[in-house]
Symmetry: C2
Subunit: 346 residues, 2 copies
């Protein structure tokens, strides 16, 4: 199916509907648009346009005598029709500038703050995915006795750390442990986490006893480093703002959303699919198979160091969100983060 090209006025009308509906939360009628959109045509003409837009699937009616509200497709069209760029409100600009004024060195910390920032600026919930560590290199490994268990610790070149615990059998003395430690260090130091993980798994398949357990544990830690960051893989901030918003939603929708937010793997998949190499990306309502029918949209943008993509920041909110403002905020934050990361990397 060929995407039909809309006339300029249809686009303007659609835009007016989206903006008005987002602003007020009420279905919007032809009169309102005629008055406010400044198109210089009467409400009757608008009505024709509205009927046409409805025919095309961009708008609906809750009922006969109500105004129009955008469909998911309508929001999509609206977003796609936006001029690139987009302006920040002054307050938002100041908030963003202020936040990044303090130098922060630990990226994970910065990102945590970033989710809060995004939430504060947009009134929805902020998201961030720390860099994947695909190109992370094993700087150091350590095998330590901790209580009556063993801890395998790995430190990546970019500062990521993870650890795994392994049961300590009674028949292993500290001499043997020392030797194991040296073996492990020799095996993995300097390798990329991807290679290290493969190597660990390969060795584990032939090893046995405590050595096997350790190799399995090691493989797991390399996997974690590769996935990016020690514990939490998707950072979420400002859920309270979202909960506020969600008060109007269908019950099932709210549950669905919170479940998704809690299951990092799900969010991760969503954000990964969504953010490939574009600037700002928008997923509206049920567009992504992952989202089911959840009435929420995600606005996200990647940040980079130099030219390599590091991670993603974004915002989750209702489909009826202020896309223009949110997109501008997300873009600005991603840009600042990229600058920061590039600088750190230099």
């Amino acid at each position: 199916m060929v995407e039909p090209e809309l006339g300029a006025r249809k686009v303007a009308v659609l835009r007016a509907v989206v903006e008005e509906y987002v602003r007020t939360g009420e279905p919007v009628g032809s009169e309102t648009i005629a008055e406010r959109a400044g198109l210089g045509v009467s409400s009757a003409t608008i009505r024709n346009e509205l009927a046409a837009l409805e025919e095309l699937g961009y708008l609906t009616h809750p009922h006969t005598s109500a105004g129009r509200i955008p469909t998911d497709a309508g929001y999509r069209k609206f977003v796609d029709s936006l001029p690139p760029g987009g302006r920040l409100r002054d307050k938002q600009r100041r908030a963003i500038a202020g936040f990044f004024a303090e130098t922060m060195l630990d990226l994970e910390e910065v990102l945590k703050g970033t989710t809060q920032l995004l939430s504060r600026v947009t009134q929805y919930a902020g998201l961030a995915v720390p860099p994947t560590g695909a190109d992370e290199v094993v700087l150091r490994t350590e095998l330590l006795e901790v209580g009556n268990a063993l801890m395998f610790l790995v430190i990546g070149q970019q500062g990521r750390v993870d650890r795994a615990m392994v049961d300590r059998p009674d028949d292993v003395d500290s001499e043997e442990l020392g030797s194991l430690d040296r073996t492990l260090t020799a095996a993995f130091r300097g390798k990329s986490v991807v290679d290290a993980r493969a190597e660990a798994l390969k060795r584990a398949s032939t090893a046995k006893g405590i050595e096997r357990d350790l190799l399995v544990a090691a493989a797991e830690t390399f996997g974690v480093l590769q996935a990016g960051g020690a514990t939490h893989h998707v950072l979420i901030g400002g859920v309270a703002n979202l909960a506020d918003e969600a008060a109007h939603w269908r019950r099932e929708t709210v549950r669905r959303l919170f479940e998704a937010l809690e299951h990092e793997s799900e969010m991760l998949e969503l954000l990964r699919d969504v953010t490939i190499d574009q600037d700002v990306n928008v997923t509206i309502g049920a567009e992504h198979p992952q989202t089911g029918d959840w009435e929420a949209s995600i606005v996200s943008a990647p940040f980079r160091a130099g030219t390599t993509a590091l991670g993603t920041v974004g915002v989750v909110g209702p489909t009826a969100m202020d896309y223009v403002s949110v997109m501008a905020s997300v873009r600005a934050v991603a840009k600042r983060l990229s600058e920061l990361a590039t600088e750190l990397d230099a």
Copy 2:
């Protein structure tokens, strides 16, 4: 003010009101109680008791012709009147037993799972506070170059890890770094984190330049280890269940709750105050100054290794919660955790 001793029948009536209200969510009338509580008295007698209980502040009316609902004080009285012990439903027992059947070594991981478990079993949200590391000892410290920054890494005897990043000035060569690393190691290894922190701060006050920065960063990491665990200090699971429940609440209440859940320090303070040395503890509604008027209750219990308290697990839900079942679940989970921790510690 002397706490008045209620008659046995008043207690029974109060209990009936709480149980019925929690079950149905509807205000409960005298008739219902007369039928169901099996007290062998007529509804008129119950009415007298209800009036008396209302007079005492344990019940209210939403309006004249409605049944009674418990006040916070009513829930409190109810909880206090519960026999110690309390039974688990079979399904809950199985779920809890099943969860702890798999041995898990990393306590942080266990606790994360525990919050999910508690949520699943109770239908509210699960909480866990990892052990505070007050008696944690510095096993090892490392100073590493990471990109163009420095990372100070500390490993505790109990397996906790934290790190801090410090800007690397241009005029520091790697020889100087090596010497700094040795100094730091010598200064802190083997010290308790509390002492280490104090020492770091003391030295920082006289040092300057990069050394000062490092000492400040080190103090921070020791503080984190003392507070318990690397990044997140309060683990929360099953928020979706709670969001479901919260659909009926006042808007402001929901916002308040989610804000509290997001701000770890707030939750932490709440849970710390609440869980001193008791078995299962219940905070109802606005009983705690921290909670404002939030219509939510927290059921929590400490877990121990041997006799020393380690951390806390609990559940957040509406004041109208099934206290009997939740308390039994929290108690059972805390007990299992204690067994697990004691075993690990041995």
